[in-house]
Subunit: 385 residues, 2 copies
Amino acid sequence: MDIYKKSLEHHKKWQGKISTHVKSTVQNKEDLSLAYTPGVAAPCKEIVKNPDNLYDYTIKGNTIAIVSDGSAVLGLGNIGPQAALPVMEGKAVLFKEFADLNAFPICLDTQDSDEIIQTVINISPVFGGINLEDISAPRCFYIEKRLKEVLDIPVFHDDQHGTAVVVLAAIINALKLVDKPVKECKVVINGAGAAGIAIAKLLVGYGFEKVVLCDINGALYEGTNNLNEEQILMAKITNPLNEKGDLRKIIVNSDIFIGVSAPDIVDEKMISSMNRDAIVFAMANPVPEISPQKALKAGAKIVGTGRSDFPNQVNNVLAFPGIMKAAVEVRKQITDEVKMKAAQALAAFLPEDQLTVNKILPYPFEKGIAQYIANEVKAFFSLEI
Amino acid sequence: MDIYKKSLEHHKKWQGKISTHVKSTVQNKEDLSLAYTPGVAAPCKEIVKNPDNLYDYTIKGNTIAIVSDGSAVLGLGNIGPQAALPVMEGKAVLFKEFADLNAFPICLDTQDSDEIIQTVINISPVFGGINLEDISAPRCFYIEKRLKEVLDIPVFHDDQHGTAVVVLAAIINALKLVDKPVKECKVVINGAGAAGIAIAKLLVGYGFEKVVLCDINGALYEGTNNLNEEQILMAKITNPLNEKGDLRKIIVNSDIFIGVSAPDIVDEKMISSMNRDAIVFAMANPVPEISPQKALKAGAKIVGTGRSDFPNQVNNVLAFPGIMKAAVEVRKQITDEVKMKAAQALAAFLPEDQLTVNKILPYPFEKGIAQYIANEVKAFFSLEI
């Protein structure tokens, strides 16, 4: 039976992948008088005195919302909030399983950015953090930025930052194997949506000086027409030589290729035109920009994809549970510095002497990764003023 | 140690009374590919085909939201959405414990009625029902009415309807003991807020012809000044003799007194002025309109309160878990007829030969009440066209 049929049966059997669980059961009058009226008036009054007490007496300190409008779901596109629910439940499962963080799916029946922002603000009292998910670019940039300004709880768009953190971690380890300095590597990113932009931003922040971001029209350079606000910013901070042209031209003599775009758009010639010891992350899902076999045959040294059935899976689950857990606990926003720290920690999880071209990242199910990332990120947060 | 200190410790220990629970664990690559990508695309696609499939593949069919703006919390008043959270979590606990219905607290950081409505509409895809809670009158009437018009999932304001159902059940059984016909009983309700209005409406619908609703200014009659829309409607359908005057005057020669108002506002003289075999439900919390001891001494035959430490506790938990469970399962709105059916079922749960003046209602923790109410209500729903 194929995975899709199996998954359908799995979902039908469980009728939803999460449920609520009562931490302390209510089985008699006394239980009831503690958890509910009249006793419950006591924590209510403490919170009236000081809203910070929410973190002591309620679920706020260990619960996040997974917010989506279903406008850019996995490989499925704009399928809307209803059809997005199985994905958001799945994400809730991952937060719980990997970081023991309670997460509840909130699928929004609107794709108006300002209404999404207002709705999230309105429901925010219950949550210690907001994980934005599968919201289309460029709307996702505006929504995230505004929510970060207004809310006093961490807001994280995993499609952007989770991806960027894991890609940076993979690059850090890959560069150890090919022994090239960050400043000299030319990095070509194909796909100027949420993930591509976030990756480019993080790499530039980390110290890469030769990043070129491409989309379907070729390289983004200062002066490109029809860019959105974020892309204009990217054209400014990337592509220092103001290179113009399509991916086939831009990829020549590059050291790292990162695809967050579409299946089969890179051929062997393009890989062969890269510098020696090329690093290729072809992360289009489920069909990568080029298959690992082809990329290796064409001369790539290290190849990663988004798939679990090839080596070097670049999987967000390595990053988001731990990062969010830490941010919720310290009640701070996740800055670029925090993301870099998380990427370094994730890279360092794998001892240098265990790195091989077929294993530059830990597997998602290696024990303790999320807690380790959370601890490292928390330690870093505590250094910040 | 008093109940408030104990409750505070209880809340601090548990840091929130509910958590999310993963129904089917994700512990390896294959689990992940079923619950999340790539397998999850299958239920997503089924829901795109037909949104009804949400009920087969997601949490929607067994999950409700408990929505409050914290504007009228228990005896605490307008304490806001943050401080209301312990109460909403408590309610979530009750839904789960009594009816095995997953409920998630949504405390809204707005008290603008239209914004509350829009926010609830926006988050509705995930939920199979909406339980409105502790929203002040008259806003609660407008919000509930509008949401019922717009949403295709049941919407229930428990402070109104849960209370009304349990009061009607209590009256049905009390009248069996004092042997008075419904049509001839004069019922005086003190308190013209959410609960008082809902009780009056349900009693009139049930066949009581002599209901008079009072507030702090005395009886509501047609032509009273400064009434809100719901109160104007109530003045029309109650008080057939157009009686005017304060509670002390109106209560004379009545058969049933229902207090949903304020502590200690009824004295023994007022009770003595009622008809023989008077029935008194003094439900102000925590201090009733008159203590059971005083009411009985003054001649009342049957006395109930909202408290668990006196006989005849009129407790919403007898009604809302079962009603909501049934409505979510059949996906229908809860009409007045449904509420009457629920009240009759609740009354009938106690065999007639076991009724005494000290036990006209089951105790909340008697086994199987919620499931029994749910079954009765579902059977009734299935009779409707």
